[in-house]
């Protein structure tokens, strides 16, 4: 069984994000990038399925700062193949990114067709979660997003997934493979891999690099302005000693019928 995992980097918000001088992008000077957390869960899900079903896991990621660390870590965790795609701009936007991946993936030997394509269902720079369903559509695969649990029946060629809805409602779906699943969470958090294994992965190399294949032109995303949210000053700051603040807090909670 073949599983394809798509991962990407997003700005690391441990650093204060600043708007660059052009007023339309992030200041790059101190910007660091971190793996999209949902993609990390997608990889974890793929590795769990690999253990259970003797599947082969391939990871593909667009080139971005610090992506090699993520790819080496994926290898150390047990991914069989990791591929970095150059030429997809980080600022391309969801539509362009999905389009570029749709035209590039079929050309990489051995990647498609995959029985299961997994990717994070959203990212901090894609809160509406567009990339995954757009790509699924372009690859002509059924898409289910916000998936938190996947069981596969390889004999029947189907997967049963749990899909989250608002209000704590969970749906169970059965989908025929091949399918594209947008991962929200997984039965366990992403595993830890000792740094010694990652260093061994670095030593043995193993990241394949391919160039993106451009497809039909899409309207590029144009950012007209970027700004930090303005503080509107509606917060009431409680002053005083710890005791004073605790007392005021208790009064407020009681006054609002919460105690």
């Amino acid at each position: 069984m073949k599983i394809l995992v798509l991962m990407k980097m997003v700005p690391d918000i441990v650093e204060e994000l600043e708007v660059a001088g052009d007023g339309t992008s992030l200041d790059q000077e101190y910007l660091r990038f971190i793996v999209n957390e949902r993609d990390d869960y997608a990889l974890e899900q793929a590795l769990l399925l690999k253990d259970r079903l003797q599947a082969a896991v391939t990871v593909v990621a667009p080139e971005a700062p610090e992506i090699d660390d993520v790819l080496h870590t994926a290898l150390a965790k047990g991914a069989d193949r990791v591929i970095r795609v150059s030429g997809i701009a980080a600022t391309a936007g969801t539509r362009s990114t999905a389009s570029a991946l749709a035209t590039t993936l079929p050309g990489i030997p051995g990647v498609l067709p995959a029985d299961l394509v997994l990717s994070g269902c959203q990212a901090i720079d894609d809160l509406d979660g567009f990339v995954a369903p757009l790509l699924a559509g372009a690859l002509d695969l059924p898409y289910l997003g916000l998936v938190s649990r996947i069981t596969v029946d390889p004999g029947a060629g189907t997967a049963v997934v749990a899909k989250e809805y608002a209000g704590g409602v969970m749906g169970r779906f059965e989908v025929a493979l091949p399918a594209f699943l947008g991962v929200q969470g997984c039965e366990k958090p992403p595993r830890y891999v000792p740094i010694a294994k990652v260093r061994a992965a670095i030593a043995s190399g193993g990241i394949e690099v391919v160039a993106a294949v451009s497809g039909p032109a899409t309207t590029p995303l144009e950012v007209t302005a970027m700004a930090k949210p303005e503080a509107a000053g509606h917060a009431e700051m409680l002053e005083g000693s710890v005791r004073d603040v605790a007392d005021k807090l208790a009064d407020i909670l009681a006054a609002r019928g919460l105690l």
Partner: protein
Amino acid sequence: MATATVLETPDLTLDGLLATPEGRPLLSCIQCGTCAGTCPYGDVMRYTPRRLIGMLREGFIEEAIASDDLLTCVTCYDCWAKCPRGLHLTDVLLPLVKEQVLLRLPQVPAELQSALSNTMRYGNPMGESPRKRAAWVDGAGVPVPILRDLGRPVDVLWIVECYSAYYPRGQDNARATARVLAALGVDFAILGTEEKCAGECARLVGEKGLFDTLREQNMATFGKYEFASLLTSDPHAFDAFAYVYPSLGLDRPVDHTTPFLAARLDALRPRLTRELGYRVTYHDSCVLGRHNHMHDEPRRILEALPGVSLVEMTHNRDNTICCGGGGGGMWLDTHYKAKGHPRLSDRRVEEAAATGADVLAVSCPYEVPRFEDSLKVLGYDDRMVVRDVMELVAEALDD
């Protein structure tokens, strides 16, 4: 990322283990059980140190590694100190086995996982931005030079370390230390945002790869500057710099702030004029005390403070009771609680409270949050506070 090295996995057979210089001493163990008896968590481990060595020697290597008991080792150096054969359990043998445990564990406890990942990525277990590592300097009240900006060699490179740099109560310690160093006229500087964790607790919990990466990065940073000696606020960092970094070329003398100050006490004495009026009990830290035998230095400092009387806890000096923070313990409280293990810091604070002292004095940054938390949990926070020795000294300093 740092230069990669090939993973050296000792051959996981008895012969393979014994072939390593670290594993060979296994043969010297006489199975007396002193280690198990003295281990603070010996009563809750399924495989105590004695049993573990016995199992390894009989070839039950897989079973030994499959157990997560080694996560319960808080590297307190008690077994190391008491072993009649002088086996280097805490610092050598156990980390060797723990490295295999971490590789095999199906699930590393979440808190520990975060601490290790954060240390790798940000140079500190809290996951704070490296750029904020020198934020404590504002409010120190004295100049704290950053070595990169200083542009000249310095006498003392002071490695502040993670908890003293980022944790609010640790920052109190850092500021107090800066005032004391200034009062002594020490020519010092800090690395500021270039500083990264020394990695000793990562090493002691079995993350040798993380330790090696940090060591390489830190040695590269040290190599950029000229300094006569290293000073640190963290006993674990002291151990790393004093015992492990030299093999990668660190050839400068290393000191911890407490013995450093003790050696210069006479120079500071005239300025220690504020009456403190405290009854103080001093907690010997596992690393500074039991491992490095620095018991007298902190006591001499405390006795030099005006209006301070010392009272000893039942377990002191080499018999001190661990706070539970070493070897990853700092990030395994939830894991221990889930298993129903008693909290070591609670045990220690009960002893402290029994002395009737007002102040529990410490020399290790882990101890402040751990003991302050235990004081609250046990309900003694109305009668006792925790202070680092340096905080007390700064309090006694004239302006």
